[in-house]
């Protein structure tokens, strides 16, 4: 018997998508396979690595630990939605580039989403707040030093440009 499909509606980066998915479709797979938004990366698929972090109604969440059907009717922001409408990278994205806060880039989408929400809630974080904020995201290349620098730099850039 074919697996039952559920009609759901997701607002991703401001665009409404109507899709039919099996109940077991992870939000991460729905974004990547059903919607073609492959910026969200899938690392461990059990909530440890943080690569699949997206913003669910504005709050960072593991898309691999969320069923797409649960997200029905909710708003999602992925890494593809962080830049401005004209494609200008966001302060967080620019700071990661400036500070060499990425090497292979696999973990970067998760970091960008996590840090975007962190700086929205805590615009001028201390070192401890940065470490706590990114503690759920693993990076196997950088050693984190430049990521921490980039978070502080992003806070500066955001302050200079005024809150969006």
């Amino acid at each position: 018997m074919a697996e039952a499909r559920h009609a759901i509606s997701l607002t991703v980066n401001g665009v409404v998508h109507e899709v039919r998915v099996p109940a077991r479709r992870l939000l991460s797979d729905c974004l990547r396979h059903d919607l073609g938004l492959t910026g969200t990366h899938v690392g461990c698929e059990h909530g440890v690595c943080g690569c699949c972090t997206v913003l669910l109604d504005g709050e960072p969440a593991r898309s691999c630990l969320t069923f797409a059907v649960t997200a029905d009717g909710h708003e999602i922001t992925t890494v593809e939605g962080l830049a401005g409408p004209d494609g200008t990278p966001s302060p967080v994205q620019r700071a990661f580039g400036e500070c060499h806060a990425l090497q292979c880039g696999f973990c970067t989408p998760g970091f960008l989403c996590t840090v975007t929400a962190l700086l929205r809630d805590t615009p001028a974080p201390t070192d401890d707040e940065v470490l706590e904020g990114i503690s759920g995201n693993l990076c196997r290349c950088t050693g984190y030093q430049n990521i921490v620098k980039a978070v502080h730099r992003a806070a500066e850039l955001t302050a200079e440009e005024g809150a969006p």
Binding site: L56, R62, L65
Partner: protein, 300 residues
Amino acid sequence: MKPPPFDYHAPRDLGEALAVLAEVGAHGKVLAGGQSLIPLMNMRLAAPEHLVDINRVAALDTVDAGRDGVRVGALARHAAVERSEAAVRVQPLLRTALRLVAHPVIRNRGTVVGSLVHADPSAELPAVLTLLGGTVRLARHGGAQRDVAAGRFFTGPLESALQPGELAVSAFFPALPPRTGTAFHEVARRHGDYAVAGAAALVTLDDDLRIAGARAVFVSAGPVPVLLDLTEVCERRPAASVDWPAVERAVRERLDPDADIHATAEYRRHLSGVLAARALRTAAAVAAGDPGRSGEERDG
């Protein structure tokens, strides 16, 4: 890996949720935050036939802080309870413990009641409920609700008194008596991991600031949270003159933790003793009104 197929139910209110749970019985599992259940399903360690998603039951998304304690509804996220100033005023150990639960992003989705029902003996919240003598409220279709005390709720590793067809609708964390402080100290291999060992303590002082009551609960020390009454070994002295090595010894003698790849049983016993003494001293300082001690500390 991907989760196995299941039938999905998305009730809109509590009555509908209970009706569905009654129908699916032992084949059903409740999905709230999913931060423990979905990893288990992704790894194919759990394969419920029916999943009852309560995320649309808005009436369960509550944090009510009253004079007697804090009642947390089944859909209240860790982060919501952690941020609730009203909850912290009534029961400060909640925030202290929640900051030790996984990472902020996990706490955005995970729920307090879900952590209790998951009943992991390494987890902080079952220990907190046990230490405070809280209760879990269970509801079923067509039946009366029942409150189960923490001491009877946790029945084994990942096992609770919840029966098929029942839904844990809320948990109650009692407020602290006067002149009482709490603390939670744990050691984990990595930030946010389950603790190798950990102790939460509750200390009540008398009018002369002598220890009148001292309890500690231990995580990763047995099949369920292990509660020890250490009042006697504190000998009703002020914290500064308690024989703390004797307290550590008493803890070591009364715990029987398991060994695993992270730690030997002997190391866990040792850590538990050290952490209990630290947590009790911190709790005593908090009870005495020392503003420099917040009661929350991550060791190692």
